[in-house]
């Protein structure tokens, strides 16, 4: 019985290969985009974990403060089981140098093997460092030995060698090894200025990049949802077309439960097929996008991610799970209907392509409720999850509202149409709406995502460019190898430049969170150009007098301390916030003191970096003169244009992945539209043939079909614009603030929106091309068959 029934059910797909293709490709696209994004996230997190595991530093408590190797010796003499660590970024290609003491460092899989005495000696001498395969290191470093298990972009060196590479005599912190004795002398007695910090939960980079990965996940979920629209449409159509078969099978004695079970088995088979294809697709997509993601993470957070992809079983199993969940979501409605199908149900396919006013009303009401919910969450919600809930409610609400709004517009068009053909075209378009609504909703989501993300990126780009112009006001930036060279340089520059502005900073903690403290001279350059978002009265005069500090937007938002508040600036002491400045692209908190105040707070900090004010025309000559006179580090001399170029390049790479996902989502939506139009093209022959019989040519009918697709795409694009702008607002004003700590103004881009709308219309024309061409070239005999079948 099962075999015969299954054979009859599957015969449908043999007769409808296009529908089968639509279903499998839709499922594969949905699964592929989701699993691809998950693969990227999983690989990046794996690399962060490797980076954090080098010394297990995030799992151990640490001692922080203004520390040196003498402090390490003090603690060791007192019996403290500690190991010194220096962790920094040298100039040149993005590289992280980790200095360790090989005798006290905790041994784990990621620490170098120094059991060979010769290797140990070379390591202690500073002649040998370790790095992962593929990590680019400058030639100035000593011999590099490649080892597995090290995070990409990380160089491990002896603590003294690392101090030399980083140009400092300090250490960052000391890790306290596990199971220390309980009777140790108190830390406060041994090192009064140091403090014990308990183990961090998870890797620091992992936490910093969480928001980025959440963004990617949201995009993956959006693409998955768009793909599911295709799957839902294909399953629903197959169900309706097989309704007479179901009735016959039931009439011939197949129990409803068995029939439901067989169709569920069919869904499982599709899960395996679509899931497998999706996983292959996802792997390919992840491999293609991972280098871009790596560039993004490096540019945004300084996090290093390998270009290679690891194929973990959990990843491909989750791919199948998502395919299964997707099919279950898309097919549950049909299975539910089937389980309740009476034996004497009408054999004619239900008028699935017939608008049902009550359904449209319910859908519209649901859409409005979701939009209201999105507004409420945007106003009252807090946190990144609230931001994404707001996004989800906004997109789903807009998608649900699309069919009722389109129906109302088309109904209005039909009432106003002059002439029988125009009236038929409007009314018939309204009639086809339910059959096309899922594809149009997918198109709306894809367009809105494109407009929203495009507007956000555009706003970001414009604001960022303007901000760069303000922040990078100096014409030339110089970094010397040490203070002696710096003194020499200052003397050389006397009379050659308008101003020498030292740039000096140190890592510290603000209100317990990691941050950077900078000293800045009082100079008109800063007074004129520094981008202040919030400022108290006479901010620059008060800063120059050492009465407080400027903090960046990220720190202000995280701590809630704006102008007038007092904030704990770690090494900088407790100070009043005089003003808040924008600091795009920087995930960390930052504070600025006047140079004199900084020198008092952090006395031994070497001043080796300088911004030079010089007439722009004299920049090339001065740069040449400095380069000829001084043996500066590799990137020790950078002009403003190069620095801006580099920053903008980082910016563009940062959003390359987003752009790629945008395009892929649009492609999926285009496919959904094509599949729906092609299916409808076949299904609606009985509706088209009479109009042909009444005297309209096949060409006329084909052009009407094309016009219908264009009308629907155009209206969808028009509705996608406000949805996309709302999406951009949520991204800029809610998600970005929560994820990155800065808020950007929304800059409208009507030209870009118009171009995107045009692309939507082109996509609709392409999607409609095949069904339109088929109708145009359809032999009259095929149309006549509609009437022959009547008898």
């Amino acid at each position: 019985m099962n075999r015969a029934a299954l054979g009859a059910l599957l015969a449908h797909w043999r007769r409808q290969p296009l529908q089968l293709l639509t279903l499998v490709v839709g499922l594969a696209l949905a699964t592929g985009l989701w699993t691809g994004v998950q693969a990227i996230n999983a690989q990046a997190r794996l690399d962060y974990a490797e980076a954090a595991a080098t010394l297990g530093q995030d799992d151990l408590p640490r001692i922080e403060g203004d520390l040196s190797l003498d402090d390490f010796a003090t603690l060791r003499r007192a019996g403290w089981p500690v190991t010194p660590v220096i962790d920094g970024t040298p100039p040149g290609p993005r590289l992280r140098v980790l200095g360790i003491d090989p005798f006290t460092a905790p041994q784990n899989g990621a620490t170098p093997d120094l059991t060979d005495t010769a290797d140990l000696t070379a390591f202690l001498d500073g002649r040998l460092v370790f790095a992962a395969e593929g990590t680019e290191v400058p030639e100035s470093l000593p011999e590099v030995r490649r080892i597995a298990n090290l995070a990409p972009g990380l160089v491990v060196a002896d603590i003294l060698a690392a101090q030399a590479i980083l140009g400092t005599g300090r250490i960052d912190h000391m890790l306290i090894l596990p199971e220390a004795r309980g009777d140790l002398p108190p830390l406060a007695e041994l090192l009064p200025d140091a403090e014990r910090v308990e183990a961090l939960a998870g890797s620091e980079i992992g936490r910093l990049t969480d928001s980025f990965h959440l963004n990617l996940t949201a995009f993956g979920l959006l693409a998955f949802a768009v793909g599911l629209f295709i799957v839902h449409a294909a399953i629903g159509l197959a169900f309706e077309q097989r309704r007479p078969l179901f009735r016959t099978l039931r009439a011939l004695g197949l129990p409803a439960a068995r029939l439901t079970l067989l169709l569920a088995a069919e869904l499982v088979a599709f899960t395996l097929l679509g899931g497998a294809l999706g996983i292959v697709l996802g792997y390919g997509m992840a491999a293609f996008l991972l280098p871009g993601v790596a560039a993004t993470l490096s540019g945004l957070y300084g996090a290093s991610v390998e270009g290679g992809l690891t194929l973990a079983p959990a990843w491909w199993l989750s791919g199948f799970a998502m395919a299964g969940i997707g099919l279950a979501v898309a097919g549950s409605q049909s299975l539910w209907q089937l389980a309740r199908l009476p034996v004497l149900a009408p054999a004619m396919p239900r008028a699935w392509a017939r608008a049902r006013l009550s359904t449209l009303r319910r859908q519209g009401a649901g859409g409005l409720v979701l939009l209201l919910a999105a507004a409420l969450v945007a106003i009252f919600g807090t946190g990144l999850v609230a931001g994404f809930v707001c996004l989800g409610a906004l997109l789903l609400g807009a998608a649900l509202l699309l069919p009722p709004v389109l129906s109302a517009v088309l109904s209005f068009g039909a009432r106003r149409a002059k002439g029988a053909l125009a009236q038929w075209l409007w009314a018939d378009t309204q009639q086809q709406l339910p059959g096309l609504s899922l594809a149009l909703m997918a198109l709306l989501l894809a367009l809105a995502a494109n407009i929203g993300v495009g507007t956000m990126v555009g706003s970001f780009r414009d604001t960022f460019t303007g901000w760069l112009d303000q922040r990078l006001a100096a014409e030339l930036y110089v970094r010397t190898v040490d203070e002696a060279q710096a003194t020499e340089l200052r003397a050389f520059l006397e009379g050659r430049v308008d101003a020498i502005l030292p740039i000096v900073g140190t890592e510290t903690s603000f209100e317990g969170m990691p941050g950077d403290l900078y000293g800045q001279p009082d100079d008109p350059t800063f007074r004129r150009n520094w981008p202040l978002l919030d400022a108290g009265p006479e901010v620059w005069d008060r800063l120059a007098a050492g009465e407080g500090a400027l903090v960046n937007e990220q720190l202000a938002r995280r701590t809630g301390f704006w102008s007038g508040a007092e904030v704990d600036l770690g090494a900088g002491g407790r100070r009043e916030v005089l003003g808040v400045y924008s600091d795009y692209g920087n995930p960390r908190g930052q504070a600025i003191l006047t140079l004199d105040a900084f020198r008092v707070a952090v006395p031994d900090m070497p001043e080796t970096r300088f911004a030079l004010r010089v007439p722009p025309a004299e920049v090339p000559a001065l740069a040449d003169a400095i380069a000829a006179r001084f043996d500066l580090p590799e990137d020790g001399l950078v002009d403003q244009a190069a620095l801006k170029g580099f920053s903008l390049d980082v910016f563009e790479r940062t959003f390359a992945v987003t752009a790629a996902l945008n395009v892929l989502t649009l492609v999926v939506a285009g496919f959904a539209l094509w599949a729906s139009l092609t299916t409808l093209g076949t299904m609606r022959l009985p509706q088209v043939a009479p109009v042909w019989a009444l005297g309209l040519t096949r060409r006329g009918l084909a052009l009407a079909d094309l016009a219908r697709a264009l009308i629907l795409a155009a209206f969808t694009a028009v509705l996608a614009i406000p949805t996309g702008v709302a999406l951009a607002w949520v991204l800029l004003a809610v998600v970005n603030v929560q994820a990155f700590g800065w808020r950007l103004p929304l800059l409208a881009d009507p030209g870009g929106w118009a171009v995107l709308s045009l692309w939507a219309i082109v996509a609709a024309a392409l999607a409609a091309a095949l069904p339109v061409w088929r109708l145009w070239r359809m032999p009259p005999a095929q149309l006549v068959q509609v009437f022959v079948h009547e008898r």
């Binding site: 008028a351 017939r354 002439g419 029988a420 053909l421 009236q423 038929w424 009314a427 018939d428 309204q430 009639q431 009985p686 509706q687 043939a689 009479p690 109009v691 042909w692 019989a693 009444l694 005297g695 309209l696 040519t697 096949r698 060409r699 006329g700 009259p780 005999a781 149309l783 006549v784 009437f787 022959v788 009547e790 008898r791």
Partner: protein, 222 residues
């Protein structure tokens, strides 16, 4: 002569080879005349209807409507003919599901560029006055059939081709519809060709053609 067919042959390719459906069909139909086309199932009635309506073309022979050879027309020419000269009443109505009854009634006339005239008056005669704002899916089979008849009559074609137009109607309503069609055809100076299995209905028309295995077996006055 309004309709003139001569030596019409039509065959279709089937799995068992080429299957003749119509052979040597010749007959004329004058303005104001009504003709019943009868025959067994599979005798070729529908195929002949489709050829006369310009939905298909004969393999051989000529079909002329008001002197225009249908087979010599291109796609657009045949569409023009269907739009302006021929009116088709389908067995399964084939109304436009997206238009209400009023718009369905006037659709063919407006498509042909003609004033549909008094739609309400015709609807009254068809018993559809209360249903003008309803959609086809909301009507019974008999009501839909009456809309299909009304659509053709409002278009005022020269040749009305009706395929079992009363198959879904009760006897009394069917007789009323036949009377309406005959009256309209006479008023318009048009001709009516109606496919039917009912000898009773066939007897109400001027002539009767009987098809047997694709050949014209009888051409009799009713």
């Amino acid at each position: 002569m309004l309709l003139r067919t001569r030596d019409v042959d039509k065959s279709y390719e089937t799995a068992g080879g080429r299957q003749p459906v119509l052979s040597d069909v010749s007959f004329d139909l004058g303005a104001g005349e009504t003709l019943a086309l009868t025959g067994e199932s599979g005798s070729g009635k529908s195929t002949l209807m489709h050829l006369l309506a310009g939905l298909d073309t004969p393999d051989r022979g000529t079909i002329e409507i008001e002197g225009t050879d249908i087979a010599a027309q291109d796609d657009a020419g045949r569409a023009r003919l269907r739009r302006g000269t021929v009116g088709l009443i389908f067995q399964q109505f084939n109304l436009i599901p997206s238009l209400d009854v009023r718009d369905n009634l006037s659709f063919h006339a407006r498509l042909a560029g003609r004033d549909p005239g008094d739609v309400a008056a015709l609807a009254e005669r068809l018993g559809l006055s209360d249903h003008l704002r309803r959609y086809p899916e909301q009507l019974s089979g008999g009501q839909q059939q009456r809309v299909a008849i009304g659509r053709t009559l409002l278009a005022a074609p020269r040749l009305v081709l009706a395929d079992e137009p009363t198959g879904n109607l009760d006897e009394a309503t069917g007789d009323a519809m036949i009377a309406l069609m005959r009256e309209s055809v006479t008023q318009m100076g048009a001709a009516l060709l109606m496919v039917t299995h009912s000898t009773r209905l066939a007897a109400q028309l001027d002539r009767r053609l009987h098809l047997r295995a694709g050949r014209l077996a009888e051409d009799l006055p009713a």
